[in-house]
């Protein structure tokens, strides 16, 4: 770690102002950022901690949507987002208790790790990501591995998830990190089914449109028979080839449909 200053604003406005300083960076739960700093892979001069900002914390249900403050920890979502069971279950299976007690949804979505879980939920639910300046539809937000629509210094203040009729997240764990080797989030809405896949693609989280079409007309695992994802562009590493990941997408999507509730 290099040395840096820490600021602890209590409002979004103060945080935005603090982030205007040279080489300033937002600090959520630190579960990704702190290890990066320890490895000296980043050298911010000021860390602006978001954990003291009450207005971006908490879970509320509002007009058919669950709205989660950008600074809400995975642990809180797991406990309080019962109105959207699949989302609460996803949060409850991120990392371990220590990670869940610190890590936040804003940090996860801002980081957009290609193997992270929340991006699948946000894209799979057609969520809206709100920041201090605007609201961004999930379909526009994710722009490839570790790439998002966020501008420098922009803070995720909340994320609104429309509550589906049925949904499920299937995470097949990478044996070492226990992030998603492949994760599939399926959500059935009145106007159609969304299927979002994390962990698999070199482009980060994506929607599997053929599966969405098939499931929108027949929401059953059988509807997926014969459908497959190409291994082209899938991540290939120590833990599995692109072909294996492509295969898992099919398996997990079926399982998610079968388990959706």
């Amino acid at each position: 770690m290099y040395s840096f200053d820490v600021e602890n604003p209590e409002t979004v406005a103060d945080a935005v102002a603090a982030l205007g300083q040279d080489e300033a960076q937002a600090l959520g739960g630190g579960q990704t950022l702190i290890p990066t700093l320890k490895q000296r892979l980043a050298a911010p001069s000021v860390l602006v901690s978001l954990s003291g900002i009450a207005e971006i914390k908490g879970v509320s249900a509002d007009g058919g949507a669950v709205v989660i403050g950008g600074g809400t920890t995975h642990g809180t979502v797991a406990n309080e987002a019962g109105a959207y069971g699949a989302l609460a279950a996803l949060a409850g299976n991120i990392g371990d208790p220590a990670v869940r007690n610190r890590g936040t949804i804003g940090g996860s979505l801002a980081n957009n790790d290609p193997s992270a879980c929340y991006p699948a939920a946000a894209l799979g639910s057609g969520a809206t990501i709100s920041t201090n300046t605007r609201s961004i539809a999930a379909d526009d937000y994710f722009q490839g591995m570790f790439e998002t629509a966020l501008d420098e210094g922009e803070i995720i203040t909340s994320v609104s998830f429309p509550i589906p009729e049925a949904a499920n997240y299937q995470k097949f764990e990478q044996p070492a990190s226990r992030f998603a080797l492949v994760g599939v989030f399926v959500a059935k809405y009145a106007d159609g089914v969304r299927v979002a896949v994390t962990g698999a693609s070199e482009e980060g989280v994506f929607r599997w449109s053929e599966a969405e079409a098939a499931l929108s007309s027949n929401f059953s695992a059988e509807a997926l028979n014969g459908l497959s994802v190409s291994a082209d562009g899938m991540i290939s590493d120590l833990h599995g080839s692109g072909a294996y990941r492509a295969h898992l997408i099919g398996v997990l999507t079926k399982r998610a449909v079968a388990a959706a509730s």
Binding site: S3, S241, V251
Partner: protein, 789 residues
């Protein structure tokens, strides 16, 4: 009724009070007044020519005390190898220099090139970044077979090639070849024993301290054997005589073999403390541990088993490539040879066994002993090929093993060791009972109804522990004796400190050793403590590895305690005015046989130190005895392991549903601790079988350099407690040590990997998949790929 004290009882581990309450005193907890910190600049290329190191700018950075490079160590010895192996032509192995800091070339990712000593770690790191290193990347050799091809890049320019030795052992090759030529059936298997990173919970730490006033050096280090470090570092590296060098290994948070070896960082801190006249501390980060702790295993083998028409094993031939990494670590050369070739007979009376091992240098981290060291590699090959043979000849894998068991003891194998005792049939029968084999069909059907495949795997193993008879290992090339030592110091009031050469880093010696002494004297265990880990306090013993602590050091302790008893009886005889031959010791009382006259243990010990009424003309005052014990043979724990796994055919994921170990450890002093050792060993074995994989890319970059990619076993990777049975009720006591113990530290890690892989193959076969072998770790993706054909 289980005993509640002494040998055979299971008192809770007394050391756990401090470990579980955060009160342990680990090396990193030691801070010496005025200490500076070192940060090592390590190579980020696998192979590179160092053209220039410019430290001028770095040396001017704030807080820098001094910067060291290889040039500072030119007059200093290199890190030595403790075992010279002789190759099949009678030539000594190649022993390239292993400098403390790289000289001219870096040979693996993580090889230390320079070291910055500074007032703070932060400043040391900052300055290290300012060092201008001109290093020219060279092609790296990673694959062992490629490394041996003509024209391959050489890891060491002064050697002819990358071959450390070509070692052949056992039955003459032509005799074994003849047996194969006439065999009714030959089964062949090629397999890889995956490279592992030991990953003790506590990373390595070294604190060097130097007293100018006394010209004395002190090293605090995370070691399993402080005297071995004092010997190697003092005599071979830094030239410090023993009386001027103290090595202290305080609480050590796990070793698993990787803390046996003498490491460059230890020598560096000791050297730098004197050069800077300031204590110097190094604490490994986890990332450094991945690229500087000696790795384990990494064998590539071909094994062939010959059977006659009645399925008797008649010949075994193995051809192994053993990765040494870039340098020879302390015991690296002995692991694939004397700790591996000698075990190739396993539990079977195969009359002809020929083992060939080629040890190879590559641009990777040095490889050395890791829990089991050589014996897991031997067992894995043998038990996998037997399983394959059983399938090929169509017999039950248990029956095939049973038919070929050694049943007469002592038994001299064709690979030079003599098993003193054993009963392989007994452990097999115990395993069968505990596994509930008749229930397997129903469990398999239940799994299949769930869309899963269920497989059964069995494995037998034998290991050579209690390392080791010094005269024997000396003939085999060991450069150290492998006896051990203990001093029993009885204090005036009867309490006892036992100074032992063994080192406890998780094993529970502090609980177990007192159980033995207390039993022998008939006193309360709480009156006995052991002292270990400090060369200035303990006799010159050789430390802990190879499941040797109780069998070797414990035997020394028994011998010393016997001397104590002999002397105490003389004192008691004097106090009781009786003849020594009539004195009996029972329950801490010395009595005259057949009378009610007695004196208590405490009366005798007090008399020894307040010798007012004492036979001074016959014996010296005081009550303190030392014994050195050199074993007459190895000990041979053995057992039968079995498991059931489920394979999810859709994802390839394997889960261990049931695991049974039936071990013969000879006598058992503390059953709870033995069971804990086996549980831990099996967890590590399951880790190797299903999860752990230290992988390099073709350029020698470490792909699994953190826990993001190196998968450690976790609690939920193991079967639930009710399906996880470790049994040690089959006991054939060792015939040549006074406790009759054999050692239990490595068994679990040796016996479990083939059990798991055998079960996975059985599961896949049961599902109609013609899969003969999958290399470890048997990860979901590998299982799935294998199923694709």
């Amino acid at each position: 009724m289980p005993k509640d004290h002494g040998i055979g009882a299971s008192p809770k581990r007394r050391e756990d009070v401090r470990f579980l309450t955060g009160a342990g005193n680990y090396t990193d907890d030691i801070n010496v007044q005025g200490q500076a910190y070192v940060h090592f600049l390590r190579s980020d290329v696998a192979h590179g020519k160092i053209n220039n190191i410019d430290t001028a700018a770095a040396a001017a950075m704030p807080g820098v005390v001094r910067i060291f490079t290889g040039a500072d160590f030119e007059g200093v010895g290199g890190i030595p190898c403790g075992w010279q192996v002789t190759d099949k032509h009678g030539e000594p192995m190649k022993e390239p220099a292993h400098p403390v800091l790289a000289q001219g070339k870096a040979r693996h990712v993580g090889d230390p090139i320079a070291a910055v000593v500074a007032d703070s770690l932060e400043e040391a790191r900052n300055a290290a970044e300012a060092i201008e290193l001109d290093i020219e990347e060279l092609p790296a050799v990673v694959d062992m077979k490629a490394a041996l091809e003509g024209g391959a890049t050489k890891v060491h320019d002064d050697l002819d090639d990358n071959l450390c030795y070509d070692w052949q052992f056992g039955s003459p090759a032509d005799e074994t070849d003849a047996v194969f030529a006439n065999a009714a059936h030959v089964t062949t298997l090629e397999l890889i024993n995956n490279r592992l990173v030991a990953n003790p919970m506590e990373p390595r730490v070294a604190v060097g301290d130097y007293s100018r006033a006394n010209d004395e050096s002190k090293l605090y280090t995370t070691s399993q054997n402080p005297h071995v470090i004092r010997l190697l570092m003092g005599a071979f590296v830094l030239g410090i005589p023993e009386h001027k060098l103290t090595v202290i290994a305080p609480d050590v948070g796990g070793g698993f073999g990787t803390k046996i070896f003498h490491y460059a960082e230890e020598a560096f801190c000791t050297f730098a403390a004197k050069a800077c006249n300031r204590p110097v501390k190094w604490t490994s980060t986890r990332s450094e541990a991945f690229m500087s702790d000696a790795h384990g295993r990494d064998h590539v083998s071909k094994i062939e088993l010959a059977l006659d028409a009645d399925n008797n094993f008649i010949g075994l031939r193995t051809d192994t490539y053993a990765n040494m990494g870039a340098y020879l670590s302390t015991f690296a050369s002995s692991v694939p040879t004397w700790l591996h070739g000698t075990l190739m007979a396993g539990n079977y009376k195969t009359p002809n066994v020929t083992v060939n091992v080629k040890a190879v240098f590559t641009n990777t981290v040095p490889v050395d002993a890791y829990r089991g060291a050589g014996r897991p590699e031997a067992t894995y090959q043998l038990e996998r090929v037997i399983d394959k043979a059983a399938r090929e000849v169509g017999v039950d894998p248990i029956a095939l093993r049973r038919q070929n068991f050694i049943t007469q003891f002592p038994y001299a194998t064709p690979v030079a060791v003599e098993y003193d005792t054993g009963d392989y049939e007994a452990t097999m029968a115990k395993m069968e009972e505990l596994m509930d084999l008749p229930g397997f069909a129903a469990r398999r059907a239940a799994s299949e109804a769930n869309g899963k495949l269920r497989g059964f795997g069995v494995n037998c193993f034998i290991e050579a522990c209690g390392i080791a008879p010094s005269n024997l290992v000396g003939q085999l090339g060991a450069r150290a004796g492998l006896y051990d030592a203990a001093t029993v110091r009885v204090n005036a009031t009867g309490s006892i400190s036992v100074m032992v050469g063994a080192h406890s880093h998780g094993q529970g010696h502090e609980t177990v050793f007192p159980q033995v002494v207390a039993e022998m004297l008939g006193i309360d265990e709480s009156m006995v403590d052991i002292v270990h880990g400090d060369t200035s306090k303990i006799p010159f013993g050789m430390g802990t590895y190879g499941s040797r602590s109780l069998a070797v050091c414990g035997s020394a302790m028994v011998r010393a305690t016997e001397k104590i008893i002999n002397k105490a009886k003389k004192i008691a005889a004097h106090l009781l005015e009786a003849s020594e031959g009539d004195i009996e010791l029972k329950d801490g009382q010395f009595s005259i046989a057949g009378t009610d006259k007695s004196v208590a243990w405490g009366d005798v010990t007090l008399a020894a130190y307040v010798p007012h009424n004492y036979p001074l003309e016959d014996i010296e005052p005081g009550l303190e005895e030392t014994a050195f014990y050199d074993p007459a043979n190895f000990t041979y724990p053995a057992g039968a392991y079995a498991c059931e796994v489920e394979v999810d055919p859709d994802t390839g994921k394997v889960t261990v549903e049931k695991f049974v170990s039936a071990d013969d450890f000879g006598n058992v002093v503390n059953p709870m601790i033995v069971e804990g050792q086996v549980h831990g060993g099996i967890a590590q074995g399951i880790g190797q079988a299903l999860l752990e994989n230290c992988a390099y890319d073709e350029n020698g970059q470490l792909l699994s350099a953190s826990y993001m990619d190196y998968a450690m076993p976790r609690a939920d990777d193991l079967p639930h407690m009710e399906n996880y049975t470790v049994d040690h009720s089959c006991q054939t006591p060792c015939t040549h040590n006074p406790l009759g113990v054999k050692g239990c530290g490595e068994a679990g890690a040796i016996g479990s990997p083939p059990t798991i892989v055998n079960a996975v193959i059985d599961a896949l076969q049961s599902g109609g998949h013609n899969v003969e072998h999958i290399d470890m770790p048997v990860s979901p993706s590998r299982v799935w790929e294998a199923m694709q054909g």
